[in-house]
Symmetry: C2
């Protein structure tokens, strides 16, 4: 069932006015009438019911109500597994839309677009173009979340240069980047063995990270991980890694408490 | 680097004649001239070099040669992890192309299209339509393998009805289907803990498998597995599961030999 993602200025229960695309979606696409309701959610995953109260020509009013008990019991338990942040090198053209759409489904909590040495399309680094791209990615994320009934809406952060990437503390955070060769002494299982607060994944552009960038990432607390000989396209790399990470975290208890 | 997938009738080293799409690709798209060579592979992943010897107007002759030592040393080691077979419910329209493309990248070894109760488009079950679809999927698999430098070309089997699905032996094969609820007592790690010969994954259509079909699958040796609360679209479900399976198998030693 499709779940409407409430606009960012909505705080939860109460009356709101909707216009633009939200109005279009609810009143034109879904053809809601006064009194009709749809399942709704805030970006953090909290669930509500949206009841249409007043329908104008370009705007509508609606009431955000708590979700009834019975449907709350049926919903998936809020997740207890660690959040996953993705630092994704900006790919060519519309490939980023695909990355975002898939990461919404896979349950990524935050996506940070990153400009790297081998990023194609340097022109797109200007401010106006960046802003347009961020807004588009936010729309893509939102519509993907609505379409697939996502558990939560990931945050699309402002794009940064790779040199601006923060440092991570390997005691509480597992930060890594994908490596094409089995160089790493540690496996993904080893990285995720200790109880961690957050998983951070850096995915390079088509040409990969440069040697200088790899050193920088390691300096910031990122470690290389090899996920097999398969050659993944940019739009699939993050999703592949996130799928593996999610299942390892979900089943953590089953493999960390094993006997020999 | 793009690697040409040799036609199915080619056995390895020797002279071959190429026509149709192969001729078009090599002589028109890649614009090879006599004496030029391209990296090539057989469907099973064995690597060669293809040298163009004669160029006609609609066909060309070429010599399949062993790959030089130095490039063989650089190539990924042949995989030792268990093969993964996918029984995929036929999705609507061109979605299957996407599934095949991604599974080629993820390293699936065999894909069997399956007709189920909730499969949309029953008309497509007639013989001619089936054959056209199989041929298209084979072309998609081949071009995906060439584009991404896949480790091997998966076999696209003839479509079957779900009732024709073979039985699997849980002692040597890990067969399972995805389940939306955490019902299964066993985790993916538990299923893959013992040394197995093959992994078999069944993925349902948009509406899922019917209750009757789930019972049939369990009767055939399939077991349910829950991979988390995320809601995956048909085109992403197999890829997500295969990613997790591949990493678990790749790192098997690191988590099965762990002490408490």
């Amino acid at each position: 069932m499709k779940r409407f993602v409430l606009p960012p200025d909505c705080q939860g229960e109460g009356e709101i006015t909707l216009s633009g695309k939200d109005f279009h979606y609810l009143c034109r696409v879904r053809r809601l009438k006064g009194g009709d309701s749809v399942p709704a959610m805030l970006a953090d995953g909290r669930r509500f019911v949206l009841v249409l109260t007043e329908k104008g020509t370009n705007t509508c009013r609606a009431r955000v109500e708590p979700e009834p008990e019975e449907s709350r019991e049926n919903q998936s338990r809020p997740e207890e597994i660690a959040p996953i942040e993705l630092y994704q090198a900006v790919p060519k053209g519309r490939v980023f839309d695909d990355v975002v759409r898939r990461c919404v489904e896979a349950g990524v909590t935050r996506i940070v677009p990153v400009y790297t040495e081998f990023t194609v399309g340097g022109a797109a680094r200007d401010t106006a173009e960046r802003q347009r791209r961020e807004e588009r990615l936010q729309r893509v994320a939102r519509s993907a979340a609505e379409q697939c009934g996502a558990v939560r809406l990931p945050e699309i952060a402002q794009a940064i240069e790779l040199s601006q990437i923060p440092s991570f503390d390997s005691n509480t955070e597992a930060a890594f980047f994908l490596h094409q060769e089995p160089l790493a002494e540690w496996s993904l299982h080893r990285y995720l063995e200790a109880s961690i607060r957050k998983v951070v994944l850096a995915v390079g552009p088509e040409g990969g990270f440069s040697q200088r960038e790899l050193r920088l990432l390691e300096h910031k607390g990122f470690r290389p991980v090899y996920l097999g000989p398969q050659v993944l396209r940019t739009e699939n790399a993050a999703f592949f890694a996130v799928a593996a990470i999610r299942v390892l975290l979900l089943e953590r208890e089953s493999w960390t408490t094993r006997k020999k």
